[in-house]
C-alpha cells in the first residue's frame, strides 16, 4: 500500500501533480494530508484504501464519488464542499466525520462501519449495493438529511448506531424482506416521505417531529420493535411475526389497516388505534394501554382460530370476521372486557361452517359488551359470553351456551317452522 499525500498546491484528485509523490491514488493506496496540504477536489470517480486527513485545514470538494476500503477520517479543521459526490465505503472500517456533513453516503457491501462520531449526510444515504447485504453500523449516530435508500436486498442493517431522518427526503427500500434494525428517529423540520413498503425490525422507532407523507405506504415490522410514534399517522401497517413482542410507548395511529399475520405480544402504554385485520391463526397477547386495541374502526377476525390473551381487552367500532371456510373458534380471555361500540356481525358462514365465540375459561363468562347494534350474527355459537352490559345479541341458527343477553333467533336443530299467531287477519300485500 502506497501513501499519497496532498501537496501544498492541492488540485484534482486524479491529477498526479496534486500529490507529493507525483502519483494519483488508486485502490490500495492510503491518502493523507498535512497541515499545509492544499485544497482537494474529487473530480472523477476515484478510490483508495484509506483516508486520514488529520491536521488538514483546507477544503475537500466533492464533484464525484470516492470509494474507500478502510479507515476514513475527516477532521473538524477542514472544510467540505460540493453536493455531487458520494463517499462510498466498500470494506469494514471506522468513519470519523469530524463534524463535517457528507454530500452523499453509501455503504457498498456486507461490511461493518464503526462511527467514531456523529455522522451527517445532506444528500442521499444508501445502505447496500443493490445486493443481499448484511450491514452492521456500530456506535454513535447517522443523521440522514436527504433520502434514506435501503438497497441491501433481503439482508439486514443492524447495530447500535442511531439513525435519524433529519431533513427532507424519502425513505425507501429495494426489497421489503430486508429490514432496517437500528434505532430510527424521525426528527425534522422538513418532510419525510415513506415510499412503498418499508421493513423495520428490532429497534426503537421514534417520531419526534416532521411532516411525514405516508400515502400508499406500508410500515412492515418484524420482531421486537418498540414504537413511539403517536405524533404521526401511518397509513397501512403489517407484521407476520409469531412470538414477537411489540412495545408501544405511545399510541400507534394509522389511517389504513393494521394487518396481523402472526400472534405476538403487545406491551407498553400505547394502544392500537385503527382498523385491525387478523389474517392467520394466532394468539394475540394484549398487555398494552387501557384497551389493547382502541378504535372506532373495524376489527376483522380471520378464517382461522384466534385467541385474544393478555391482561387487556379491546374496544372497537365494528367486530366481524372474514368469510369462513371451516368452523372457527375465537377465544376471549376471561377477566378482560371486550367492547364493540357500533356493529357486531360475521362473514359468510353456514350450518356446517360456524363461528364460535368462547371464554378462555370454561364456565366463567367473559364480558363482551355490544354498546349499540345491530348485533346480528349468523351460525355463531357463544359459550360463556356475558353481553349483559349492552344490547341484546342475536345469532341466527346459533347455539347459545351459558351466555347472557344472547338470543338464538332460530336455534340450531329446529325444523325451521314458523308459527304466525294473532287474530286471523293474515298478511296484506
Amino acid at each position: 500500500m502506497a501513501t499519497r499525500t496532498i501537496a501544498n498546491g492541492g488540485g484534482n484528485f486524479s491529477a498526479a501533480g496534486t500529490w507529493v509523490e507525483g502519483v494519483a491514488p488508486i485502490a490500495g493506496d492510503a491518502c493523507v494530508a498535512t497541515a499545509t496540504s492544499g485544497q482537494l477536489t474529487i473530480d472523477v470517480a476515484s478510490a483508495c484504501t484509506s483516508i486520514d486527513f488529520t491536521n488538514y485545514v483546507n477544503t475537500l470538494t466533492w464533484n464525484a464519488d470516492l470509494t474507500t476500503a478502510g479507515t476514513t477520517k475527516f477532521v473538524a479543521g477542514m472544510t467540505m464542499s460540493g453536493t455531487v459526490g458520494t463517499l462510498v465505503l466498500s470494506a469494514t472500517c471506522t468513519l470519523t466525520s469530524g463534524g463535517k456533513t457528507l454530500p452523499n453516503y453509501k455503504i457498498s457491501g456486507s461490511i461493518t462501519v464503526t462511527y467514531a462520531d456523529a455522522a451527517r449526510v445532506s444528500g442521499t444515504t444508501t445502505l447496500g449495493a443493490n445486493a443481499n447485504n448484511t450491514i452492521v453500523m456500530t456506535a454513535q449516530s447517522l443523521r440522514c438529511d436527504g433520502n434514506l435508500t435501503e438497497q441491501h436486498g433481503t439482508g439486514t442493517v443492524t447495530g447500535t448506531c442511531n439513525v435519524t431522518l433529519g431533513g427532507t427526503g424519502t425513505w425507501s427500500t429495494n426489497n421489503t424482506t430486508g429490514s432496517l434494525r437500528t434505532n430510527l428517529t424521525i426528527n425534522t423540520a422538513g418532510t419525510v416521505t415513506v415510499s412503498g413498503t418499508v421493513n423495520y425490525s428490532t429497534g426503537t422507532l421514534t417520531y419526534t417531529a416532521g411532516t411525514v407523507v405516508v400515502t400508499g405506504s406500508t410500515l412492515f415490522f418484524g420482531t421486537t420493535v418498540t414504537l413511539n410514534t403517536s405524533g404521526m399517522n401511518w397509513e397501512a401497517i403489517s407484521h407476520s411475526s409469531s412470538g414477537a413482542t411489540f412495545t408501544l410507548n405511545s399510541d400507534l395511529n394509522f389511517t389504513g389497516t393494521f394487518t396481523i399475520g402472526g400472534g405476538s405480544t403487545y406491551a407498553g402504554t400505547g394502544e392500537i388505534k385503527g382498523n385491525v385485520t387478523i389474517s392467520a391463526a394466532s394468539t394475540h397477547t394484549l398487555n398494552n394501554g387501557t384497551n389493547g386495541i382502541n378504535t372506532t374502526g373495524t376489527l376483522t377476525l380471520p378464517n382461522a382460530a384466534t385467541t385474544f390473551a393478555g391482561s387487556k381487552g379491546f374496544s372497537v367500532g365494528t367486530m366481524t370476521t372474514t368469510d369462513l371456510t371451516a368452523s372457527r373458534i375465537h377465544t376471549l380471555t376471561f377477566g378482560n372486557t371486550y367492547t364493540v361500540n357500533t356493529l357486531l356481525k360475521n362473514g359468510s358462514v353456514s350450518n356446517s361452517i360456524r363461528q364460535a365465540i368462547k371464554s378462555s375459561s370454561a364456565g366463567s363468562k367473559v364480558v363482551l359488551t355490544v354498546v349499540a347494534g345491530p348485533a346480528d350474527l349468523v351460525y355463531c355459537d357463544p359459550t360463556d359470553i356475558d353481553s349483559s352490559g349492552g344490547v341484546q345479541v342475536f345469532t341466527h341458527r346459533g347455539t347459545v351456551a351459558t351466555s347472557t343477553n344472547w338470543t338464538a333467533t332460530i336455534p340450531t336443530g329446529s325444523a325451521g317452522a314458523i308459527k304466525f299467531a294473532g287474530d286471523g287477519g293474515g298478511f296484506v300485500g
Binding site: N187, T208, A209, G231, N249, S250
Partner: protein, 78 residues
Amino acid sequence: MTYKILSVEASDETVTTTVCYTLADGKTITVDIPHFSPASDADVIEGIQNREVTEQRRADATVNASKVAESLKASLSK
C-alpha cells in the same frame, strides 16, 4: 409562534417533553414529544423546535384545506 416546556421525563433511552405551543393564530396545543437517546439539551431543543414547525404547518394545512373546501362548495352552488 412560541412554546413552553411543561414537563420533562426520562424513561430508558427516551426523554419525553410535554410542550405547549402557541400557534400563529393564537391557539394553543399541547403535545408529548419523545426524544430518543438525546446527546445533549440541544438535541431536545432541536426536536421541540422541529415539532414547532411541524405543528404550525399542520395548522396552516388544516386552515387551507377548510378554505379550499369552502371555495369548492361556493363554486358548486353557482
